[in-house]
């Protein structure tokens, strides 16, 4: 049996800032709104649907994304060029180091609304 994650809703104070930021960092274009959401569509058809909530204590989320080596290089370049902090661990964002989880290369960064994104080139085993 196979189940595909189709979409998940992520709260923000400013959905466009998160959608435009993530689209840019991942090297793709923002495709515009869907209903009240600002979606970022990944290549497995998952939509991360950013939406605004009128409070400050919305939950900050963490997502791990698998990318190719070329994409990781592009992500590092764009984060570096834009002076966006990244790091080898979720609690070390800012050390501007990569990790080698699963024998691949990976890093963590935060979006403008405080959500954490991890990118890695290998589907490392969860503990």
């Amino acid at each position: 049996m196979t189940v595909i994650l189709d979409h998940t809703i992520v709260m923000t104070k400013d959905k466009l800032s998160s959608a435009l930021f993530l689209s840019y960092v991942l090297g793709r274009n923002y495709g515009g709104h869907f209903a009240r959401f600002a979606p970022v569509t990944l290549d497995d058809d998952l939509n991360i649907d950013f939406t605004d909530i009128d409070r400050d204590d919305f939950e900050r989320r963490t997502f791990t994304l698998l990318v190719t080596d070329d994409e990781l290089d592009g992500i590092v370049k764009r984060l570096t060029d834009e002076r966006v902090a990244y790091g080898s661990e979720p609690d070390a964002i800012g050390n501007h180091q990569l990790n080698s989880r699963g024998g691949g290369r990976g890093l963590f960064f935060k979006d403008p609304n405080g959500h954490t994104f991890e990118v890695n080139t290998k589907p490392y085993q969860l503990i």
Partner: protein, 138 residues
């Protein structure tokens, strides 16, 4: 070019219980405190206090085939959980124990014991050139 989700976190009061419940309802393999959706994607159940901060309710939508849809719906109702045809936020939407027929498929919403809002659909949303009411049936 391929950017794909590897895993997402689901805060839980009791990670073992939550992972086992989700594994049972969806008929998916449990791997420790994670549940594997497919070859690539994993949901990892984590303690609410560990990463989640405010412990809010999350929404995940899963796409399955028609047979899986029927089986999941049967298990959800078998646990006495009432489903709803629309997300809770829509005006006039209640726990109506109905499914919907949006986007040329079938779908329903239900809540986990941890309070997360899950959705199961058989067809991807038609996300093309739609206006502000794109969530409504075509």
């Amino acid at each position: 070019m391929a950017v794909q989700l590897h895993h997402a976190l689901v805060p839980s009061k009791d990670v073992e219980t939550s992972a086992a419940w989700f594994s049972r309802i969806m008929n998916l393999p449990q791997e420790g405190t994670s549940v594997r959706l497919n070859d690539l994607q994993v949901l990892e159940f984590v303690p609410r206090t560990q990463y989640s901060g405010q412990g809010g309710e999350r929404h995940f939508c899963f796409r399955v085939n028609d047979q899986e849809f029927d089986e999941i719906l049967g298990r959800v109702r078998g646990e006495g959980i009432k489903v709803r045809s629309d997300p809770g936020g829509h005006p006039g939407t209640t726990v109506n124990d109905q499914i919907n027929y949006y986007h040329n498929g079938r779908g329903f919403y239900f809540s986990s014991p941890d309070g997360h809002g899950y959705e199961v659909i058989t067809q991807p949303y038609v996300r093309g050139d739609h206006g502000p009411n794109a969530m409504e049936p075509a």
